[in-house]
Amino acid sequence: MNPMDLATYGKNTWCPGCGNFSILSAIRSVLAELDGQMQSIENVVLVSGIGCHAKIVDLMNVNSFYSIHGRVLPVATAIKLANPDLTVICFSGDGDSLAEGLDHLVFAAKRNIDVTLILHDNRVYGLTTGQFTPTSPLGFKGKSTPNGSFEHPLNPPELMLASGATYIARGYTHGIGLLQKLFREAILHKGFSFVDVLQVCVSYNNLYEAYNKRTYELKDHDASSYEEAQKVIRSWNYDGSDVPIPLGKFYEADARRLDQAYRGSMPNALDRDNSISELLENFI
């Protein structure tokens, strides 16, 4: 399958230069490649929230649920529970999953539900034209904080580690090879996969320069060690300082998954009627 077979007639309305283009191209090639190998494309379901990031589903000729702001993960969780044979991939924003819908993110990790979440982490609200988000650095000047924000950012991979996610990685939209590698790993990983993508928003938070200078790809990192993972994750805390920013897979582990919990199929109507009658006997 050619990645372009996955396109639709939907018009791409991202700003020229937006990091979302890289994510789109990476996910198309990974899905095209996986089709036929592991998972044929009709078994894939994409879920998105609301924000610039979310427009990606309109551009993919793949099953999709274009949900509401902050609510990708409950939708995705239920789709996976409904049919564990489906491969469920979520596209979310930093406003979407770290502000509006943070609770669902923590619980997806806690449950280790077998879905993948790709966070378009541009550290700004793009679609609502530039307010600070939970990953904006202290002092960020956005529309709602014209004199600089008062809060330190969250460190999403750290939060995910503490919450039970079993695959945690970081990519950058300049670096499509690594993005592809991480998306492939995350999708194939059994359990909750979280990929924090430093996605540059050219219109409201253009960090290309800073990222180009400071990001580096991890080598010889032991992703099976919680302590090592934590150390590398905590080496950069999303603030404005000058420290290097690691990219790559931070952590991977194997653990019980919620989608393993529900088994059993539905009876036919006749059996159901009989069971209802039997059940009612208990109440006589």
Binding site: T8, Y9, G10, S40, E42, N43, V45, V47, I50, K55, V57, D58, M60, N61, V62, N63, S64, F65, Y66, S67, I68, R71, L73, P74, V75, A76, T77, A78, I79, L81, A82, N83, D85, L86, D103, H104, F107, Y262, G264, S265, M266, P267, A269, R272, D273, S275, I276, S277, L279, L280, E281, N282, F283, I284
Partner: protein, 562 residues
């Protein structure tokens, strides 16, 4: 004997609900119909709980103020309920704890605490012991009690039987309840709550998943589903909050699994955004919405009918919805199945709008009598050509398909979208899609003509049938009974959206005075009726968290010269 009311009271933790159900079962085995109102505050141990079990040869769904037997596990029960005693009433009480001062009625004290101590039984067996005494007093044979206990005591059956027998032996017979079994040709019926009936109705119509965050008085649907759902292949999930609940429901539906959610007012608020999504994206979902006293936290364990307006217009924007308010367990079973069918037939949100009284009261339940309803087939995609999730059709309903479908992409969208499900901002398409969604309401309304969406509970007779009582939800029972007694017509509006104006008009033929009876402060059904041109002459409203007793309603009617 036509009516016999028993009240058992004690503190939370005394097993007052279970004791009431046992009394109900006893009467059911004797051939009676029963109705049980259960009253409890929002706490776990202590406070004052009571079960009021009314048995009758007729089918009933309301309680009366006065009682025949008062079973008091503590002094507070006497203090609170002495006013309910008639001259002929009888009091059974724990003689170790309770004093009958100032009570002129006959009574029988049993040394419950001592009996338990002697038997080495724990305090929770108080209720079994006193029920033994109760059976003796009212003349219910030991063998009947024994069989009920044998069937329902999961733990420590022997010890329970022992203390019950002690109670039985130490009490004195004072009444003689006759068995009705010879008159009514039926086996004893199950006794279930409205919430259990809702659960069964949903199961009957093919439910595949139930998702809920606990909230009184809806939680017992979750309990029931968690316990019995797996044997029906139902996936039961209790997630982090109600927002997740509503969105999970939509994920299930997208993947083809019929799903229901349950909550009460505050939890429902959190579902409204997802509800609007369901409206836009045409995703079927059933909401079991059980009303309690509001606003806000209000009185969690008491009743109300204050959320009708809210339910009818919840969620931004305009989209059709099906709303039904059952009035008892049989309504609840039948209409819950219908609600699930309607949700999937028209791809709309469907509400089972219950209230604490319907949901937590006990009713004898006859499956056959509840009406025949089967799971209806969803309109499925033909498999021909390119699948379009939102294809335009004559009735606005687009055939469904669920992933995986070879060579197809099934796309759902909360934005305004085109037929394929891709976002569009086009003005014409926007109007056309809105018309498509609203068109479904017309077909849904037509479809409802097959159903008794408005029910005449009592025809009334002669002159006085110029007056009708109009009710919804749990006031069904009390209105029907009062109307029958006073020769009035009583009309129950079961479906509240789409509003069955034609059926209501027919039901009102000849009526000159229309009296709305509701458990809220602003007469919401009356107001809704006003929309459709129905003029309401009187409003009888109760909003103290407690249901109307038959006496409450009769005296209110009397006060208005009816």
């Amino acid at each position: 004997m036509d009516n016999f009311s028993t009240l058992i009271g004690g503190i939370a933790g005394d097993g007052i609900n279970e004791a009431g159900i046992t009394v109900a079962r006893l009467f059911c085995r004797l051939g009676y119909n029963i109705y049980m109102y259960y009253d409890y505050p929002s706490l776990i141990r202590g406070g004052h709980n009571f079960s009021l079990v009314r048995a009758s040869s007729k089918k009933i769904a309301a309680h009366m103020d006065q009682i025949d037997i008062l079973i008091a596990l503590n002094q507070e029960t006497i203090e609170k309920h002495a006013v309910r005693l008639k001259d002929s009433s009888f009091v059974i009480y724990d003689a170790d704890k309770v004093m009958l001062e100032g009570i002129t009625q006959k009574g029988c004290g049993l040394p419950i605490t001592s009996i338990l101590k002697e038997a080495g039984a724990p305090a929770v067996m108080k209720n079994t012991c006193i029920l033994g005494g109760y059976c003796k007093v009212v003349g219910i044979n030991w063998s009947i009690l024994e069989s009920v206990l044998k069937k329902h005591m999961e733990k420590k059956l022997e010890q329970n039987l022992l203390v019950a027998r002690q109670g039985y032996d130490q009490a004195i017979e004072s009444y003689r309840i006759d068995s009705l079994s010879s008159k009514i040709e039926r086996n004893p019926l199950p006794i279930i709550t409205g919430n259990q009936a809702i659960s069964l109705g949903l199961i009957k119509a093919g439910l595949g998943a139930y998702v809920a965050y606990p909230m009184t008085p809806s939680s017992s649907v979750l309990d029931f589903m968690a316990k019995f759902g797996p044997q029906f292949g139902i996936k039961v999930i209790h997630p982090e909050n109600e927002i997740a609940v509503m969105l999970m429901a939509q994920g299930f539906a997208y993947a083809g699994v019929k799903c229901a959610v349950g909550t009460s007012g505050g939890g429902f608020c959190l579902m409204t955004e997802g509800l609007s999504l369901a409206g836009m994206a045409e995703i079927p979902v059933v909401v079991v919405m059980v009303q309690r006293t509001g606003p806000s936290t209000g009185l969690p364990t008491y009743t109300g009918q204050g959320d009708l307006n809210f339910i009818l217009s919840a969620g931004q924007g305009e989209f059709p919805r099906f709303v039904v308010a059952p009035g008892d367990a049989e309504d609840a079973y039948y209409w819950s199945a219908v609600a699930l069918n309607m949700a999937w037939k028209y791809q709309v949100p469907s509400f089972i709008l219950s209230d604490k009284i319907v949901s937590e009261s006990q009713y004898n339940f006859e499956l056959a009598g509840a009406g025949t309803v089967e799971e209806e087939a969803t309109q499925q995609w033909s498999g021909q050509g390119k699948y379009q999730r939102y294809s335009f059709t004559d009735n606005g309903v687009s055939p469904m398909a669920f992933p995986p479908q070879k060579g197809q992409a099934i796309k759902t969208d909360s934005y305004m979208h085109d037929e394929f499900g891709i976002t569009t901002e086009d003005a014409m398409l926007n109007k056309k899609m809105t018309d498509k969604r609203l068109l479904k309401e017309r077909y849904l309304a037509d479809d409802l003509e097959r159903y008794e969406a408005v029910k005449v509970l009592s025809e009334g007779n002669g002159e006085s049938a110029k007056t009708a009582l109009l009710c919804w939800g749990s006031n069904k029972g009390v209105c029907q009974e009062a109307a029958e007694k006073l020769g009035l017509r009583a009309i129950q509006v079961l479906v509240l959206s789409p509003f069955p104006a034609k059926q209501l008009k027919d039901a009102l033929q000849g009526i000159e005075r229309l009296v709305a009876v509701e458990c809220n402060a602003t007469a919401q059904l009356a107001r809704l009726g006003g929309f459709f041109g129905f003029e309401i002459d009187d409003r009888i409203l109760k909003y103290d968290g407690r249901p109307f007793s038959l006496n409450d309603l009769e005296s209110e009617l009397g006060r208005r010269g009816i």
